[in-house]
Symmetry: C2
Subunit: 501 residues, 2 copies
């Protein structure tokens, strides 16, 4: 076999990073009994302490489903939660703009998103600035470029686009520059419905087709502790009603808006997810919904949020155990508190990533580029983190140990203290055996110094500049684009759709 491969033309390396399965063993931080106690306490929390739900329509739905409602407080019985857990789908097919980018969210699947929701963008060329339309478009294009991102995230807020028009811009940008699974903000029904309309028309699917399978997702953050505000509750309803995906993610910082313990913070987070997902199933049994968590600790001296800490890692593990308890696909998060793309930023993000990976997370958000606890997305950090994500994706592919790989023949070919550069086995594989880095540099110290002694952060600038200069993105049908632009022009003229709160 080794001999035959020498005769073949060198093969270009081609590894599928688009549909990944998590190969890492699951780690548990708590016993099954402890997890059962946490679930029980979460149910008791919903029954006895209740959720404050600010949207009247949502309270009506809970009441109709059997919850006790007292002004804004909703007390949700465990029977309702159990029914919701039974009807929520355990496997969710997601339709992207191209079939090879479709994916399934379920336990065991693994997807990544870049850092999301930041008010600022930053890079070494232009510095740190409020996020703009240009930044958003560039970051969508970078997201599109790397197969290891399966979903488009709300990377930064394009603050120079008026809020009543921002959903047009963000939807158009995602559709034009990416064929990946897109994101829609839950900022009130008008924006959501217009975004659904743009998306289904651009994708060329009927309303029935659109509603049969998720074509987009939103992220629902509860206001911890125990509050669900108006746009978030409305988002849960709108997305469920139209068969689109909600990812429910309480953001629970231990010691601040959540208990100081991992067990306490995750119990609170769990109760809030259960409330939100119950609402989706009251709207439409079988509506697609992901379990989610984002729990880390604050620095108790300053109150500042920290990420990639031991407590963050353990919180991911605990959330994973509860997510598996529900059977739902689920989202966890990496990220960094660092103010620049330095060693701290790298170490925090990777530590958080391993917590998510060993927790068996289905979606890992903020996995690249996220600095300052989410106040900025760094172009360079996006690149240097993609290097890590690519390597994790490589590990998803496993390795072979058949007779060719063990290769007694290769061992036979080389004398003691010799080298394997020219063995038949090496010649057949040198072009495809190893992952080739995008920004890591293996030059020796002398060569590296001669080339300017640039760190990975500085080299990353050249990487994103090249990608943006070369151009990436799907082919866009001119007619569909014209139709989309006409739609947006018409709606803009009619006054747009302000966000609701």
């Amino acid at each position: 076999m080794a001999r035959r491969s020498r005769d073949k033309a060198p093969v270009v390396r081609d590894v599928n990073y688009r549909q990944l399965r998590n190969p890492f063993p699951v780690m548990e931080v708590f016993s099954a009994d402890e997890i059962a106690s946490m679930h029980e306490t979460a149910l008791r929390t919903l029954e006895e302490l209740g959720m404050k739900i600010l949207l009247p329509e949502a309270r009506h739905m809970f009441a109709k489903g059997g919850a006790r409602v007292d002004r804004e407080m909703v007390y949700i019985g465990r029977d309702m939660v159990e029914a919701a857990l039974a009807s929520a789908p355990k496997s969710i097919e997601c339709r992207a703009g191209a079939a090879h980018r479709d994916m399934v969210l379920e336990l065991g699947a693994l997807t990544f998103q870049p850092g999301a929701g930041a008010p600022h963008a930053t890079d070494l060329k232009r510095g740190r600035r409020p996020g703009s339309a240009r930044d958003y478009e560039e970051l969508v294009r970078l997201t599109q470029h790397f197969d290891v991102f399966q979903m488009v995230a709300p990377l930064i807020e394009p603050q120079d686009v008026p809020t009543h028009l921002r959903h047009y811009f963000m939807t158009q940008t995602q559709l034009v520059h990416s064929d990946k699974f897109p994101f829609i903000f839950s900022r009130g029904t008008p924006q959501v419905m217009e975004s659904f309309e743009m998306l289904s028309e651009f994708r060329g699917v009927s309303a029935a087709e659109f509603e049969a399978t998720p074509h987009a997702y939103t992220i629902i953050n509860t206001n911890s502790p125990r509050t669900l505000d108006v746009p978030m509750a409305q988002g849960l309803i709108d997305f469920a009603k139209h068969g689109q995906l909600s990812i429910v993610t309480p953001f629970t910082l231990m010691g601040a808006m959540a208990p100081i313990t991992v067990a306490g913070a995750i119990t609170l987070s769990h109760s809030e997810v259960l409330a939100a997902l119950t609402l989706t199933q009251l709207v439409k049994p079988g509506a697609p919904v992901c379990y989610g968590t984002f729990t880390s600790n604050v620095d108790m001296k300053s109150g500042a949020p920290a990420f990639g800490t031991p407590a963050h890692f353990q919180a991911s593990l605990a959330a994973g155990q509860l997510a598996r308890f529900t059977g739902l696909p689920w989202r966890s998060a990496a990220g960094s508190a660092s103010n620049s793309n330095d060693v701290q930023a790298a170490n925090e993000n990777q530590m958080g990533l391993w917590g998510c990976l060993m927790a068996g997370a289905t979606v890992i958000i903020h996995s690249a580029g996220w600095l300052e606890g989410g106040l900025s997305v760094s172009y360079e950090k996006l690149i240097t983190d993609v290097e890590v994500l690519n390597m994790i994706a490589e590990l998803c592919g496993g390795a072979k140990a058949g007779p060719d790989e063990i290769g007694f023949a290769a061992l036979q070919e080389v004398d003691p203290s010799g080298h394997f550069f020219a063995t038949t086995q090496t010649m057949g594989r040198y072009n495809t055996e190893f992952y080739e880095p995008i920004v890591h540099d293996y030059a020796n110290f002398g060569t590296w110094t001669e080339r300017g002694a640039q760190g990975a952060n500085e080299r990353a600038t050249g990487v994103w500049e090249r990608i943006l200069a070369e151009g990436t993105g799907p082919d866009v049908d001119a007619e569909k684009l014209a139709h989309l632009q006409a739609y947006i022009a018409k709606r803009t003229e009619a006054g747009g759709a302000p966000p609701e709160s």
Copy 2:
């Protein structure tokens, strides 16, 4: 319980990083059948291809044990290997200079060493330079300072100390500035025996006590492929004869001195370890020996070594499977190819670390400070990597989820959208709940900018400077020190002991 803890005085956080158990689930890259095939191929390699063993004394021992010897080639039967695997101890007690630093090496235990064996030292204050006595002493002191290092490594070569006196200096420095498990180079019998003598006298143990339990370790690198040179073979013999610990570590770069495949490289490495450990058991059945591996890939374009790659990660996993096959404690390695303590350096080292951790390694060498594939040890990188190691050590402690931690009472105390800063649970734990970083900074962007916008690498300078300025290290008995100094003076006058090769 939560109520009571409020009345207590704030407790200082105290977590034992000295005796760690690996809490991470083991990951397998190959099937049991594939591992058995690799082991079988390694045995066949030793039987049919043989090892080139340059030390006549070692060849005689192999011959006496039943091996076929043809000039420098030694062909080792599987019966000899199996007998060695049966007699090698599966659990090794290691005696440090203080009882609380003793440790046991066995599968399931977890220890860390800083980067080792570098010709250069580097820091931001003094730049990159050939390793000196001062660097060695400072790095031993930094090693001593952090509990997460359980063993002293041969950090850098003190090149300003003549080679015939270097073992005096290195042994004295370790004994005076550290009470951790020390390292002795295998550079010929004279140096080794003098080091043993200094060590046993300084520790105040009889020859019999010294030989009954390892008080020091050496690292044995084969010259891959399939060569064992004179000082390495001699080291195996000397350490085994005197009951001290050999850690056998082939350094097998895939595509260079080893096959290009993970399976092939690890099969070669396995065969070399089996040969070396067989020698230790021929010398003295039951002699303490660790299985070891250091396998990564080269960049096939340049031939430069790479670390923290997917292939490195998988090689660690495969080595772990073979080590468990033998039942022996084993050593793996992290490390970085980067030329500065940048994001690449952080990401490579942490990626390699997770490979080792999920491979179930007992000793993880090069886990902090190692740059340029081992050509330099960085003071700053040592600090920033310790942050990661400390967090891993924290994870070894697990987390609790009893009624106090789940804390329904805390949830009850806080209204919807309130905060947990002042709950009884938080007040009882705010001082001890979370790991406090040594170099990571959680200040916000404004404060961080005002303070000079320093990255973690720059901040790390202040950390090591403070540690060295404040002074660390064990109390040293003046009489023992005088005795040691007199011994060294006498031996120095007598001409020292040149290394052998």
